[in-house]
């Protein structure tokens, strides 16, 4: 196995001897020489007999051995008489190792195609969707059951964890939520003014801002931001605990993951999202008032009067009453996705992004259902 730099660069030379081909391998051959060797070997054709002479080969690697053995097998199958001779020492050992180690292909049944397979896939997708919906309902039930359990046995309730999560999902989200709502207020005032000015009805911009923000935009956009921010955080935190078997460890230690992980997180969201929604409402109206003052000359005092006269408090109630529902949806979807993480880093990433998508979708769907509901009862 000595290899020094004096090894001559090896090669394959073909010579004809009495109707037979003699393929002589010389020198040291490695992966770099393999493409050329393959080309030369491909030119050998049955039915002429071929003798591979390796007595001058100093060193070959497994790739070269594989190419020689394959060429021999190909010629032998085509009916030619072939022989490998002269291999010595390490060269012979590698040839033997490769010959014994040649992989044996196993044909796997090809995946089915056609209408039947498409139907099977469709069915599996529908069943998978229904199953994840059932999983969501299951976790929702677990959350409610553990919450009621904590009411009966307050000792099991984890106040510290709840406060920690309140800070993470509530307090730390205030700046982004307030800024977002402020900008929405500004945009609404600006666009509303441009349209309403045509009719000389600038003053109604107050109603436009107040009603749209209080009823819909304030809480909906807050929920969407929280869905992106918090659902992903829940999934990542619970998912990485799942990956490292911490959740299994909890179970064996008699700690209920529902109590320890799910109730504090979801309850924190339920408590914090209405507050965030309220902050968003205030920031949005503030932004709208500021823009009305600058753009339309509606003074803050006049804005307040108009707001108190024209906007019923039910609008704010209708908006905020949705918040706890959104919170439960976001929290449970985030936790559920975290528990669905497998044991690979890839599945953590996949579940995190699917949690965000599902949470945002669920929030918008719930908002649409609320709209229909309030329309029907005439609020």
């Amino acid at each position: 196995m000595e290899r020094d730099d004096s090894d001559e660069r090896g090669g394959l030379s073909l010579a004809e001897e009495g109707g037979e081909i003699r393929a002589v391998v010389t020198g040291a051959l490695g992966l770099r020489e393999l493409p050329e060797l393959q080309e030369q070997l491909a030119r050998l054709e049955a039915p002429r007999a071929v003798t591979f002479d390796l007595s001058d080969a100093q060193r070959i690697d497994t790739g070269i051995a594989w190419a020689l053995l394959r060429a021999r097998d190909r010629l032998a199958e085509a009916g030619a008489r072939t022989e490998i001779t002269g291999a010595q020492g390490a060269v012979a050992q590698i040839l033997d190792t490769v010959r014994e180690g040649l992989p044996k292909p196993q044909e796997e049944p090809a995946p089915e195609r056609g209408l039947r397979a498409a139907l099977v896939r469709l069915g599996e997708t529908v069943a998978g969707g229904a199953q994840s919906f059932l999983g969501f309902l299951g976790l929702l039930g677990l959350f409610v059951a553990r919450l009621l359990g904590a009411v009966v046995r307050p000792r099991e309730f984890r106040l510290t964890a709840l406060l920690h999560h309140c800070q993470a999902v509530g307090l730390q989200a205030v700046p982004i939520v307030a800024l977002m709502a402020f900008l929405i207020g500004v945009v609404l005032a600006f666009q509303g003014a441009a349209q309403l000015r045509q009719f000389g009805a600038e003053v109604f911009v107050v109603d436009l801002i107040a009603i749209s923000i209080l009823r819909e935009l304030g809480i909906l956009l807050t929920a969407i931001i929280v869905a992106g921010r918090t659902a992903s955080a829940f999934t990542a935190a619970i998912g990485s605990m799942k990956m490292r078997e911490e959740i299994d460890a909890m179970r064996t230690l008699g700690i209920d993951p529902g109590h320890a992980l799910i109730v504090p997180r979801v309850l924190a969201l339920v408590l914090m999202l209405p507050i965030l929604g309220l902050i968003a409402n205030l920031a949005g109206i503030f932004g709208g008032a500021l823009m009305s003052w600058i753009e339309l000359g509606i003074s803050p005092a006049m804005f307040m009067t108009r707001l108190a006269e024209g906007t019923d408090v039910t609008h704010a109630v209708v908006g905020l009453v949705k918040a706890p529902v959104f919170a439960v949806l976001i929290g449970v979807i985030g936790c559920r996705a975290g528990l669905g993480v497998g044991n690979t880093a890839e599945s953590l990433g996949r579940m995190t992004s699917s949690a965000v998508v599902a949470a945002i979708f669920a929030v918008i769907l719930a908002d649409a259902l609320f709209s229909i509901f309030f329309q029907q009862i005439g609020v």
Partner: protein
């Protein structure tokens, strides 16, 4: 005496104020299987990583296959990388690629190889590592720990390296799987003429595979030699390690195995 393929002189590694190695010397000869042992925290993996160039030592020199690692050009390091293979502890396979694609990754740097040859060579390496054909089409997450290690070995062998570095090859394997892996390492090393640098905790692996052993202690290579040499060394850690109850059990097992043969 066989040619020296790795020559470490005066190696010093430190992280902050914590000195891991100080004045460490080590030689590895062509064709041998060298086992590196040492207590936890003696810097076995750090030694492996500084020899392979994954970390730059604070002082000292590492010569591998005639190339001085410090001050080597990019081209020299690239050429060297093709002549060594590293198997990390849990295989370190790329999780988004199948096993076969993982083994094909190093082959894609070789000019002139077509895709079919690359795949065939990858399949050959997978088979030489003792994995069944259909393992090549699986993703690393679908394999057991032992199969992942074999796949990691297949990738390390992809370019027919001269030196293979193995980091804890049998850690986390059941005794049967570990014994099979020991045999695989020894068999491949002999058949392909590999030099193997093996970091391990596993006494059975030491007894079953290694030609020579290097003991890391007191921030340097305390002693190198064959297993029999180790029994003579008068150092508390070495005595405890090689003469402890587990070592005796491993030695007896090997002796019994030889007795049967």
């Amino acid at each position: 005496m066989a040619e020296t393929v790795i020559e470490v002189r005066g190696l010093r590694n430190q992280f902050g104020t914590h000195v891991v190695h100080d004045g460490l010397d080590l030689d590895v000869y062509r064709g041998e299987i060298l086992g590196v042992v040492g207590g936890s925290g003696t810097g076995k993996s750090v030694l492996l990583r500084s020899i392979t160039g994954l970390i730059t030592p604070a002082a000292g020199s590492v010569r591998m296959l005639g190339t001085e690692m410090r001050g080597a050009s990019e081209a020299e390091l690239d050429a060297l990388a093709e002549r060594i293979g590293v198997m990390f502890q849990d295989g370190a396979l790329f999780s988004s690629l199948t096993v076969c694609e993982n083994v094909m990754v190093p082959l894609s740097n070789v000019e002139g190889l077509d895709a079919r040859t690359r795949e065939a060579l990858a399949r050959l390496k997978i088979s030489l590592s003792g994995l069944p054909w259909n393992a090549g089409d699986k993703f690393p997450s679908e394999l057991s720990g032992g199969m992942r290690k074999r796949a990691g070995l297949a990738r390390a062998l992809a370019l027919d390296p001269e030196i293979v570095f193995l980091d804890e090859p049998t850690a986390g394997l059941d005794p049967i799987g570990a014994a099979a892996f020991d045999e695989l390492i020894r068999g491949l090393s002999r058949a392909l003429g590999l030099t193997v640098f093996l970091v391990t905790h596993d006494l059975d692996t030491l007894y079953a595979t290694c030609d020579r052993i290097a003991v890391l202690a007191e921030k340097r290579v305390l002693v190198t030699g064959t297993l029999d040499d180790m029994l003579e060394v008068d150092h508390p850690w070495v005595r405890e390690y090689f003469l402890g109850p587990r070592a005796r059990a491993a030695r007896d097992a090997i002796a019994a195995g030889h007795g049967r043969e």
